[in-house]
């Protein structure tokens, strides 16, 4: 024991690249599970040493195909073990993996494929192969395409297509012939090498390739690991796009650092079932997933018998009263403790179980503001849900909520090693080891985003409260001014609107105008259910959105928000005066949302200019026809005569 600490420190200090981390786990956690994938009806598993072998073989195979130090490797597909392994394989060879969003259409991929000079792409299946074949002419550099799942590809005879099985076989031979090759390649890696390129979806302009080093992601991963005490016995369910920085941090960087097990679901449709089977200890989901879950819980409970429903609501009230306090270690009366313990047996425990959250130690949400009620619900039933804050450029690592210091309207305290400053215009500036190295081939953009003091300009507006917790208001550039001069933070208002389960999306306008107006998207599930219970018949989204009962419902929500805004002097002037319910759902396929489901404000404003005009022109209604793209690529049109409503506003400071 005495000699051990020293040995481990020397080793730990040398664990500065991901391939070295993998090699380390292959030795120390050799037979512990590294990865699982639901396939063929059961969870197929790989231990760390098996993963290391597979990765080595894959790296050798890639080398045989001519993949060299500094090359970039495109990775396209759902979360599959072999796709994660390809990342590490590329890193071993000193290359840079570039994961792409798998649900993007072929033309959207062209930009990245060209921008990153992709020569070799590893893709999941026939679907992705077909996309790449479609755009191959446009990408002259693309030399090899490797596919994971050979299904349906039997008759594809193109010489540049390779099954991963062949490449692995080839690599194994290579590995046996030159056993030192991999060791040497790993040794050649440096911690300041770029380890990954993640393209920012970019709410404006073309995507930019964010280059992050091993050091940056390892620092970010280590900070998170320390705050949340992540350990090798943990499990995570990896189901979010591999191209998203969060997945890279949790499922790749932290998994390799802490040595916990990454579990890949069977398919996108079975995520909930797979989640229940695995029972992850570490879980991430965007707020809308938590929101959908809660809606489902409530809908399913509606069908329960009277007695059970009564019991459920009783104990949920108990949880609301004291659950979150218990989790945060605040004092709670003995009677409430007893009731909560009972509730834990009859409601919370079983509920966590059916949601697949029984074993969760930490759950995270980020990417959008989460409603306080929603947040509170999960914490009150004993799930340690937290928020964090970060960008692709900061390895998704800026602020974390430490245990027992959870505030519902903040994103937590600066994470270990991170410095935060608030600029005069309210913009949040951050500095630390996790900052990007550069934007790929975009020195101009790199220079623009990092100021002279070495701080990265996040583009978000916010402030630190008295306890040092960061609160986000809006995108800095979106914070505008009303014609009257008052500050206008559209996101802030929109989030308040979106906290109502009936409102799925909201877009507010008001910059340089004399009042605030809003577009609303209703939530099809929640409002549909609401309508059914009232016996309101409807045919599809457009019809439902136009019902006067629905308008009535939404108007109530908007007025409640107005009342809330009215109470706060800072934003009282930005109450919503007029609104309309859009005739179609905003959709990434129609470019109205980003792939991460953020509103493309400018695009929407342009596309629906006629509606904005009607809002500010005082018209009672407006006809509009819009083209929509269906999932299979077909196009169609939806048209409707949209009603516009005036809303009651409240005097400043009035309740």
């Amino acid at each position: 024991m005495a000699a051990a600490p020293e040995a481990s420190t020397t080793e730990a200090s040398s664990l500065d690249t991901f391939p070295r981390l993998l090699a380390h786990h292959a030795r120390t956690l050799a037979d512990a599970p590294a990865m699982r994938e639901k396939d063929m009806g059961i969870w197929q598993g790989w231990t760390w040493s098996q993963v290391a072998d597979e990765v080595a073989a894959l790296a050798c195979g890639l080398a045989e195909l001519g993949f060299k130090r500094g090359d970039r490797l495109a990775i396209i597909g759902d979360n599959r073990p072999r796709l994660y392994w390809s990342m590490c394989a590329a890193q071993i060879l000193g290359g840079v993996p570039v994961p792409l969003y798998q649900d993007a259409v072929a033309q959207e991929m062209v930009f990245v494929l060209l921008d990153a000079d992709i020569r070799i792409a590893i893709v999941e299946d026939q679907e992705q192969v077909d996309k790449l074949l479609e755009v191959r002419e446009q990408c002259p550099h693309l030399q090899h395409i490797l596919y994971d799942d050979p299904r349906g590809l039997r008759h594809y005879t193109q010489p540049f297509l390779h099954g991963m099985d062949e490449v692995l076989a080839m690599g194994r031979i290579h590995n046996t012939n030159q056993p030192d090759f991999i060791v040497q390649e790993i040794a050649r890696g440096k911690t300041d090498d770029v380890s990954i390129m993640l393209y920012t979806s970019g709410t404006t302009g073309k995507p930019k390739g964010v280059c992050q080093t091993h050091a940056a992601f390892i620092a970010a991963a280590r900070g998170g690991m320390e705050v949340d005490h992540l350990a090798a016995d943990g499990n995570i369910l990896s189901y979010l796009p591999m191209a998203w920085v969060g997945d890279h941090l949790f499922s790749y960087a932290q998994a390799l650092l802490a040595g916990f097990t990454v579990n890949c679901p069977e398919s996108a449709e079975t995520v909930m079932i797979d989640m229940r089977e695995i029972g992850p200890s570490y879980y991430f989901a965007p707020p809308r997933v938590f929101e959908n879950l809660l809606t489902q819980v409530m809908i399913r409970m509606e069908d329960a018998g009277r007695l059970k429903r009564g019991m459920f609501h009783y104990f949920m009230a108990v949880a609301k009263r004291c659950g979150a306090d218990l989790l945060d270690g605040r004092p709670v009366s003995g009677a409430d403790r007893l009731l909560y313990a009972l509730g834990n047996i009859f409601v919370y425990g079983p509920l966590r179980n059916v949601l697949g959250m029984s074993r969760i130690r930490v759950a995270y949400t980020a990417g959008a503001a989460i409603g306080p009620d929603l947040f509170r619900f999960y914490r009150s039933i004993g799930i340690n849900l937290k928020q964090f804050y970060g960008q692709t450029e900061t390895c998704a690592y800026v602020c974390l909520q430490p245990d027992r210091q959870i505030k519902y309207d903040s994103v937590g305290k600066p994470a270990p090693g991170v410095e935060i400053r608030i600029a005069d215009n309210g913009e949040i500036l951050v500095k630390g080891p996790m900052l990007l190295k550069e934007y790929y081939k975009r020195p101009d953009a790199t220079a623009e985003s990092i100021n002279a003091d070495g701080y990265f300009m996040t583009g978000d507006a916010g402030f630190l409260d008295d306890d040092g917790h960061l609160k986000i208001i809006d995108r800095a550039k979106d914070v505008g001014k009303l014609a009257g001069g008052a500050m206008f933070a559209p996101n802030y208002i929109e989030n308040k609107l979106k906290f109502f389960p009936h409102i799925k999306e909201a877009v507010c306008f008001g910059h340089d105008r004399d009042m605030v107006c809003a577009f609303i998207n209703i939530d099809m599930g929640a409002v549909g259910n609401w309508a059914e219970r009232r016996g309101i018949a409807y045919a599809g989204y457009t019809d439902l959105a136009g019902k006067s009962e629905v308008y009535e419902l939404i108007q109530q929500c908007v007025e409640e928000v107005n009342a809330e805004l009215g109470r706060d002097a800072m934003v009282a002037d930005t109450q919503v005066h007029r609104f309309l319910v859009l005739h179609k759902e905003l959709d990434p396929d129609d470019d109205e949302l980003t792939r991460t489901r953020k509103v493309r404000r400018g695009f929407v404003a342009e596309k629906y200019a006629v509606l904005i005009e009607a809002l500010y022109g005082g018209k009672p209604s407006q006809f509009i026809e819009t083209e929509v793209k269906f999932e299979d690529g077909r196009k169609g049109k939806v048209a409707a005569d949209l009603v516009i409503r005036d809303v009651r506003t409240f005097a400043k400071g009035a309740a």
């Binding site: 009806g41 059961i42 229940r276 089977e277 059916v354 697949g356």
Partner: protein
């Protein structure tokens, strides 16, 4: 509610295909086995052993036998009692005629003898189906009981076929006391129940169910109807035969052929209807229910008559019993054709999804 399945994932087909894939169920079964093997022998009275536990286990075994034939293979039989009789008399004959025959071997041979007779009476199933076959099994019922009465050789020349079995001794250990006999029966029944479960969850069982559900399709995928049906008759009769041997040796001690009447066959049929057609668990539940119901009525009806001040004599009680039996059978067939086992399953589903209703 008590199920916490989150995190119980399966990494091998072996784990996925085990009899109780849910951990809480496995714990429950272990507790049940401990209760049956350890707690009961210490806690139960002789009345419990003799009047409830031993007959319960024996009838469960017979019900498993009938369930294999009727519930799994879909061949209705009304002659289970006759196959029990074959088992009882075969075991008796092996015991008294072969010097030094171990009792367990006798039970085994009794089962095999019964299986042989079962195959014989199963032969018509190759050409006839449904009611015709059900009626044909009545032939077995009447013929076998008649044979046992009329051929003195079969009862070792005792008058009118009554046999009194010798005591049980295994490897020098006597099984005389009620709890000793209980443990013997329990061990045999538990083992055979496991064997039955193994069969019904493998190719054999699937072939039976395939023949039951859609015989033409079964034939087309290569299942041999003849072999499958006869195997079901043989296994079913084996179980009934062993149950019969236990019935004679461990329960009554002295039996006569008329004790294995059509009424007994019906009783076993009722057990599987109430318990659950096509369920091993159901066989136990049904046996318990049908066995406990008269005991319950014996207690409840006098109480009721006192309450309502109606004169219920013994005959009336037995008439009410008949009516309750009949009504129950109709009730289950109408309301829950898959019996108590299905109710159990529904309840379990509810608990697994708790607090959600479905």
């Amino acid at each position: 509610m008590f199920y916490r399945e989150t995190g119980q994932f399966k990494t091998s087909y072996a784990a996925d295909q085990q009899i109780f894939p849910i951990r809480q169920d496995r714990i429950g079964v272990v507790l049940l086995l401990i209760a049956a093997f350890v707690v009961m022998p210490l806690a139960a009275s002789n009345y419990w052993f003799n009047a409830i536990l031993i007959p319960f286990l024996i009838f469960s075994l017979a019900a498993i036998g009938l369930n294999i034939l009727t519930g799994y293979a879909g061949q209705l039989s009304l002659g289970s009692a006759a196959f029990m009789a074959v088992g009882a008399y075969a075991a008796y004959n092996f015991q008294v005629r072969v010097e030094g025959m171990p009792i367990l071997v006798s039970f085994m041979l009794a089962g095999l003898t019964s299986a042989g007779v079962g195959i014989l009476f199963g032969l018509p199933s190759l050409r006839i189906k449904g009611f015709y076959l059900a009626v044909a099994t009545l032939a077995a019922q009447f013929f076998i009981v008649w044979c046992l009465t009329k051929f003195p050789y079969l009862s070792n020349n005792s008058s009118s076929g009554v046999i009194s079995v010798p005591g049980i001794e295994i490897l020098g250990i006597k099984f005389d006391a009620p709890q000793e006999r209980y443990l013997l029966v329990l061990a045999i029944v538990a083992l055979l129940a496991l064997v039955a479960k193994n069969m019904v969850r493998s190719t054999t069982g699937r072939a039976w169910m395939a023949v039951r559900d859609m015989d033409v399709a079964a034939e087309v995928i290569g299942i041999r109807l003849m072999r499958t049906k006869l195997l079901a008759f043989a296994i079913s009769s084996f179980y009934c035969g062993v149950a019969g041997a236990l019935y004679a040796f461990c329960y009554l001690g002295s039996v006569e052929p008329d004790g294995f009447s059509l009424d007994l066959s019906f009783k076993i049929l009722f057990m599987i209807i109430v318990g659950g057609v096509g369920s091993i668990l159901g066989s136990f539940l049904g046996a318990a229910f049908i066995l406990l119901l008269p005991i319950f009525l014996d207690i409840f009806l006098p109480w009721l008559s006192a309450l309502l001040q109606l004169p219920f004599d013994g005959a009336t009680v037995s008439h009410i019993q008949l009516m309750v039996f009949g009504a129950l059978i109709m009730f289950f067939l109408i309301v829950e054709p898959h019996g108590l086992a299905r109710l159990w399953q529904i309840g379990k589903e509810k608990l697994r999804l708790w607090p959600f209703p479905h």
